[in-house]
């Protein structure tokens, strides 16, 4: 075994790790068109313009029926690595006790193994996450470099009073450019504005009103309504969901090539049944994605969210070439919005990244179908490379 060379700044949150007393808000968004999922599966499978040298023994494929995207906000107040070989407080890998907030989009897909005698054809159901946002850089690096998640750093503001069981107002923003153009300059761009009412304790009727396939997915992803093999209550360690991701790193000389590419599977387990489950009326939830070029494909392909044509007004000519539906000027149509559409001025000090969130962007509301919130303890159990592409 070749050991990873640990030095000063390399400490990460390595699995297995436990997160106690997490608070999650889960919003179900129907996917009306499969294009985004199909596109993402092609990315995982390495087809089209990104062929792999050798094929994995399995392919990812769309599951039949209605597709759903599960937008999840999870606040981890206390996560810690549990590997006994690296106790907390020890140097390097021991630095791993932290809090963070995570926003992710999860989609259920199939992982089909080709029949290889004597094994028959087999299909597993796994989750893929087109995006995972963290407000903690250690988690971003851990996710990207260990289990291969497409993690990005985001500023995530949970506004004052946003405690579990109360009204939630959450904003996310990232440093990027609104439109891809040689003249574009970075701003702290809003990405998601979310408000969820306090809700009410979930009653059995709330769950029974959910159609069976969706209820099953809910159980798999959150443990809500799921029964352990031992019974309805108590530990449900068997309930785990598997997240697959493409872990890859570029060659230093040619950035179009990878020196490592693998399909990695990781497991999350719910240590106990979710606690304090609350149901939220979808009509009292606002899910507003804010358009910018970096999020365009995620919004347009997965959620069919794109700037409306009527907002296509005066736009600098320089944007025309790259943006058939340019995003300016801002469109704050629809429900009242708590954020100012005034564009923050750029920082005056050279080099200083923008500090104020720009909300002068297209606002694209998504229509939620369901929303639950809950508290839970979970374990990020293990990650494993299911297939490592053999390099040429």
């Amino acid at each position: 075994m070749t050991r990873y060379v640990e030095h000063g700044p390399t400490g990460l949150m390595a699995p297995p790790w436990k997160s106690k007393d997490t608070a999650s808000w889960l919003i179900v968004l129907p996917i009306d068109d499969d294009e985004g999922v199909v596109d993402y599966l092609e990315y995982l499978n390495g087809s089209n313009d990104q062929p792999a040298v050798d094929a994995a023994p399995f392919t990812y494929e769309l599951l039949e029926g209605q597709q759903y995207a599960f937008l999840t906000v999870t606040h981890h107040p206390h996560a810690v690595r549990t590997d006994p070989d690296s106790p907390p407080g020890s140097e390097l890998m021991g630095w791993n006790r932290m809090k963070f907030t995570e926003v992710s989009l999860s989609i259920r897909v199939g992982r089909r193994y080709k029949p290889v005698w004597p094994s028959p054809e087999r299909q597993d159901q796994v989750w893929v996450q087109p995006f995972v946002w963290y407000d903690n850089p250690t988690m971003v690096f851990s996710a990207r470099e260990i289990w291969g998640a497409p993690a990005e750093y985001m500023r995530i503001d949970r506004h004052e009073g946003a405690e579990f069981g109360k009204f939630l107002h959450l904003d996310t923003a990232y440093v990027g450019v609104e439109v891809y153009c040689p003249f574009s300059y970075n701003e702290l761009l809003a990405a998601l504005h979310l408000t969820i009412d306090a809700g009410a304790p979930m009653r059995p009727a709330h769950l029974q009103a959910v159609e069976r396939p969706l209820r099953s997915l809910l159980g798999q992803l959150t443990g809500i309504g799921a029964k352990s093999r031992r019974g309805a209550a108590g530990p449900i360690g068997e309930v785990a969901f598997e997240i697959d991701a493409l872990k890859e790193f570029r060659s230093a000389e040619n950035m179009q090539l990878a020196i490592y590419r693998a399909l990695v599977s990781s497991h999350l387990k719910w240590d106990h049944a979710p606690r304090e489950v609350r149901w939220h009326d979808p009509a009292k939830i606002a899910v507003d994605f804010m358009w910018s070029a970096g999020l365009n494909d995620l919004l347009r392909k997965f959620l069919r969210l794109a700037p409306p044509a009527e907002c296509d007004q005066k736009v600098p000519a320089v944007f025309d070439e790259f943006n058939p539906t340019p995003p300016r000027p801002a469109c704050h149509c629809g429900a009242p919005f708590p954020h100012s559409p005034d564009r923050p001025p750029p920082p005056t000090q050279p080099g200083k990244p923008p500090q104020h969130i720009c909300w002068d962007l297209y606002r694209l509301p998504a229509t939620p179908k369901l929303c639950f919130s809950y508290k839970a303890d979970l374990t990020f159990d293990e990650a494993k490379a299911k297939h490592v592409y053999q390099l040429a």
Partner: protein
Amino acid sequence: MMMPLGTVPYAQTTASLEVAPPYHFPGVIVHGFVIDVSLKQVQKYYDSTFNLGDQKERGFVYRTAPAWPYGLLLFAQYPRMLCASRGPDLMRGIPSYAARGSVCQNEVFLAIPAVRYGTTKIGAILDTTVDWALPFMVVENASSASCGREMIGLGKVLADVEIGEGKAPGGFSAAVSFPGWKTGAEDELQEPLEFVRILTEPPMPTNFGKDPRTTPMGLLRTRAGSALAEGWSSFIDLAERASLGTLPLDMRTVSLKQFRAAEDPERAIFQSLVTCRSQYSDVSDFRVFNDGDVSIDFNTYASFRPILKIFIDPAKIDPPKPPHISRIGVTCRAAYSMTSTIDFDEMRTIFIRPIDPGPGNAWAQPDSDLVAAWARPWVGLFAKAPQ
């Protein structure tokens, strides 16, 4: 599709925010501080980080420069960072990286010369060169951090860098903070902590601060100072070049690019040494600070100590008696500021370590490309032409 040895196509998602090098950075404001480092500690770092495996198989060894017991703590303010790669105008219907716009950031790093000696007869001539190790590097842009870590192997940390004017107009102050742990106590959560604070008077000539005749201006007058002329950051040389304004300055960094196994994060699935060139040009507004006016203090919080031990004697970091958390000052030998254009390019994998990647993953190919930059044209001239 024919692929170069040891590669497969990189699968690009349009959701990725990372921009691949090479880069072009115009108008960078640079503040450089030459500080004392412990060569013993630095050599330990080189041995564990660069001198991997067996020296005979490796064919080179990295050592410190004995006449140069200093590091360069450098603060760079990038008002505009541009991708300089050439490629198709559109990638999957999206403008190429170079056409997407620009970002800004502050960056702080410590650079220490790492002399690479070839250990074979020919290698002693052709492979010997001076690189710069960057054992500590922070940036303010998250994508920059991910790019540096994943593409080049630079251990960039996302940080907050507050830059000000110091004690008087024209001076310089900076504080660098990033997430860490104060004591390492069992129930302690990560929090933003200040790592280093730096403060200067205005650059010379100035009426503020110490009388320059009473301070050593150490580096410029020592024997080690003359050794500077052989390295990139020769301040005498730099000043001369700055006066010309057009001559480029080169700094070739070396870093360990390595990745963790998903199954066992303490196991490496890939290890290589990567060098890159930072070329400084159009240097202007070159100013020298009185080194006696510079104070540099590092905080010895628990999770910062492994970083500090790379270049500071551990006995100074871990006092035998409480308080265990304290500030530690380092001696500044020279300080300067300038504005420059920086080009970051010529990424090169000079060595791929043969590793055991685990069952079923026999994909890591040992490889090396050690020829020093100066010798490359000559080696290329006499090399066999590709078929």
